[in-house]
Assembly symmetry: C2
């Protein structure tokens, strides 16, 4: 059984400090992500750590607000902005038994802020996938 409080003790400072080097360690190896731009899930630690990192770097004034915990299922509300566009989002997180993220879904409103986010994320994502294909 996961310990959500222990996970959150590590997660909150990681996000607050945008500590991308520490990000892979809190993700399960076979972590699965439902991201704002795509319906198809991203699978595996490298691509999920990369995309979460890009999102964390792109959203300014990122702050967490309401928080829900039911066993190993968490819902964490956040606010921030991309450029001059305010946004509200939620991380839906399932923990594994080692208190790592087994599944994360990121939902954001409103639509235009997600569009702006995608403009920033897409070229970096293409670059990342190209590097992976060449490796």
């Amino acid at each position: 059984m996961a310990d959500a409080s222990k996970f959150l003790e590590g997660w909150h400072p990681l996000v607050a400090e945008r500590d991308l080097a520490a990000l892979p360690d809190v993700l399960a190896e076979d972590v699965s992500m439902g991201a704002p731009p795509y319906w198809n899930r991203l699978e595996g630690r490298p691509v999920v750590a990369f995309l979460l990192g890009v999102i964390l770097h792109t959203i300014e004034d990122f702050t967490y607000h309401r928080e829900w915990v039911e066993g190993d299922e968490l819902a964490l509300e956040f606010q921030g902005r991309v450029g001059d566009l305010d946004l509200q989002g939620i991380d839906l997180i399932t923990l594994d038994d080692a208190d790592r993220v087994a599944r994360i879904d990121v939902l954001i409103r409103p639509h235009n802020a997600v569009g702006r986010l995608i403009e920033v994320v897409r070229p970096q994502m293409i670059e990342f996938l190209k590097r992976q294909a060449e490796a």
Copy 2:
């Protein structure tokens, strides 16, 4: 203090049956909604009931999944589709002391499904606001 279980006992059948006539009764008069298309909140029962109704009618195969409750704050995950586009969403709901919705935020992914939803919602919303202005 709100009774979330009592609220959910009414909310789930209402949504399942798309019982739009019953919708206004579960909303506070000064309900406030953060909708997927707009950053600015919609205020008051008439416009919120209208937009929730349009969304409920537009999303097909609407089903609720994970559910989080912390006092009077709820997070309800749903899935569905608009046309051939699958979507995942969440309702973040704050109840008032009469177990009515005082605040609701609706977040949906992915981006293209929200775009499709907006195409359907926008003309109906403009029509509604026009009727309100003329009334």
